[in-house]
């Protein structure tokens, strides 16, 4: 069996195209200049806040008269950090956000794939979901209290409502965008319905799903104060709300900052998990 032609062709083929292929490029770290710029922007924001609060700036429409200064907030923060309550507050909030987020992830991805790939599922599911979508978390509070036996569960439910729609809508978008050519060729290679879903639809929607999950994680934290209005004792949102009712202005800002930081951190974790799960999107690969 003569393979002369192929043996001759193969190295010749490999050689000219080798320089053209893209190696895995390492994601470069941010250059120093840009890091400095970012730190500078944060510092400038703090400075502005400090000046406005310490001079009790009054712009007519908005006033800083009752806004605590950064140093007061820092003092309040360090007091909270030293108190044993901080762990309990964060632990309680983390549990609620995580619970709501995970249920929303399962429901959002499941429903989103169905809606994105099946016209019947779309007709059945999309209208009721579109009606529910604009309802703000705070409007769910009374029903949540009535529907769930424990206040803990109703709080998880409120964070769930916040996380669900970003995840759902991004999953629908990802599932609709699957290239029909990829589906056709996978079918020609022997893939059936479920294999198409597993091997083609889910991976090609994965990028959108991760984006939705990162946004959903953020909105779950966003709903936390609302959710923990129900709470009697613990939670960062509860802490913030209680500080407001007790006119403890320093603690309000401490609570706000903690929620912001925790929300940002957990969204970043979701993105990092997404990158781990999608090795093909790492590096300088065009999609």
């Amino acid at each position: 069996m003569s393979s002369a032609a192929i043996d001759a062709a193969v190295p010749a083929l490999a050689a000219p195209s080798a320089p053209g292929h893209r190696r895995l490029a390492h994601r470069p770290g941010l250059p120093l200049r840009r890091l400095a710029l970012r730190a500078g922007a944060l510092g400038l924001g703090l400075l502005g806040w400090h000046l406005a609060a310490s001079h009790r700036l009054d712009l007519g429409l908005v006033t800083f008269r009752n806004v605590p200064a950064p140093l007061d907030v820092a003092r309040a923060l360090s007091a909270l950090v030293q108190s044993p309550k901080l762990g309990a507050h964060i632990g309680a909030s983390l549990g609620r956000v995580l619970g709501g987020f995970l249920v929303a992830l399962a429901a959002g991805v499941g429903l989103g794939l169905a809606i994105g790939r099946s016209r019947t599922a779309r007709d059945l599911l999309l209208p009721p979901l579109e009606v529910l979508r604009p309802i703000p978390a705070v409007a769910w509070i009374p029903l949540a209290i009535l529907m769930f036996p424990s206040s803990e569960l109703s709080m998880v439910f409120i964070t769930f409502t916040g996380a669900l729609f970003p995840i759902l809508l991004n999953t629908v978008h990802g599932a609709e965008g699957v290239s029909p050519r990829l589906v056709a060729s996978a079918r020609s290679l022997g893939a059936r319905r479920w294999a198409i879903l597993r091997e083609v639809v889910i991976p090609s929607a994965a990028q959108s799903i991760v984006t939705g999950a990162a946004i959903g994680m953020g909105t779950a934290w966003f709903c936390l104060v609302t959710a923990e209005m129900i709470s009697g004792q613990y939670g960062i949102g509860y802490f913030t709300w209680e500080a407001y009712t007790l006119q403890n202005y320093d603690d309000i800002v401490v609570g706000m900052l903690l929620i912001g930081l925790l929300g940002m951190g957990s969204s970043a974790l979701v993105r990092a998990a997404g990158r781990l799960a999608m090795p093909w999107t790492r590096a300088g690969i065009r999609s």
Partner: protein
């Protein structure tokens, strides 16, 4: 490579009996091809030429089982084609490798769908990658390869299923001239080793005459087969074939057949299978 050609005796006879294919919805539906009658014996290498928009991709889509004919019958070895099947592999101009799978996993996709255990299917995929000269690129992702390499992976991924028919829709159309010539030689070499019928669509007359046992020339839409030209050039074929007077005569004949009839504007380049640009519906 005797392990790869396990069933040398398998057939691969294609028949199209009075086939018509309609595309489009309701009022806007039209016949893309009409009354195509065609028989291709097993293991023949047939090239399909025709003006843009005449329905070549549509015809291939029907053979692959992605489009159903509105009239007539498409069959392989006497069995009516009723849907996509790994027995009828298809390769497009733009690769359809799964970007999230490494090259080796892409090639092993067919065997995975058949339920072959992992170790076995990877070993088999490695052998087919070697066949197209890419064993060193097994662990890459498709987007890290050049266009010619991607098409070679695509070919390996289809051939691993030992298809009775290999359908190719301008597979080398997006490659540079040099890579294209090498790919043609590689394909011919593979074809002599693996028993499969090939239906190869191209716009390049030289390519069709160099590769085929037979060239079919289609008319503009609605597509019909205008001419059926047997090519008697002996194999293996060398590059000097293209300067052979008989080759040049045939080339002139094909050029004449493909010359656009005056007054007819060129047709839009839509695509029946949702190829690039077309936003066809969900699966």
């Amino acid at each position: 490579m005797s392990t790869l050609a396990t069933s040398a005796a398998r057939a691969g006879r294609i028949e199209l009996a009075d086939v018509a294919i309609r595309l489009g919805q309701g009022e806007a539906a039209f016949d893309v091809v009409e009354s195509v009658r065609l028989a291709i014996p097993a293991r023949q290498f047939v090239c399909l030429l025709g003006p843009s928009g005449c329905g070549k991709s549509t015809l291939l889509g029907a053979l692959a089982g992605h489009l159903a004919p509105s009239r007539g019958r498409v069959s392989l070895d006497g069995e009516t084609v009723a849907g996509p099947d790994p027995e009828r592999g298809i390769v497009f101009q733009q690769h359809t490798l799964l970007p999230w799978k490494r090259v080796i996993e892409n090639v092993a996709f067919g065997p995975k769908m058949r339920g072959l255990p992992k170790a076995e299917r990877l070993a088999r995929a490695r052998a087919f990658l070697a066949l197209v000269g890419l064993e060193d690129f097994a662990e890459r992702y498709p987007d890290e390869l050049s266009g010619g390499m991607q098409q070679r992976v695509e070919i390996a991924r289809v051939l691993i299923n030992e298809p009775r028919v290999l359908l190719m829709d301008e597979p080398f159309g997006a490659l540079d001239a040099q890579t294209r010539l090498m790919m043609q030689e590689m394909l011919l070499d593979l074809w002599t080793r693996l028993p499969t019928t090939v239906l190869f669509v191209t716009h390049d007359i030289d390519e069709a005459l160099f590769l085929g046992d037979r060239v079919l020339v289609m008319s503009s839409r609605p597509g019909r087969i205008l001419e059926d030209i047997p090519l008697g050039f002996p194999r293996p074929r060398g590059r000097d074939l293209v300067t052979d007077p008989a080759f040049i005569d045939l080339k002139r004949r094909c050029l004449g057949l493909l010359r656009p009839r005056d007054g007819k504007p060129p047709l839009p380049r839509l695509s029946p299978l949702g190829l690039p640009g077309a936003g066809a519906g969900a699966a």
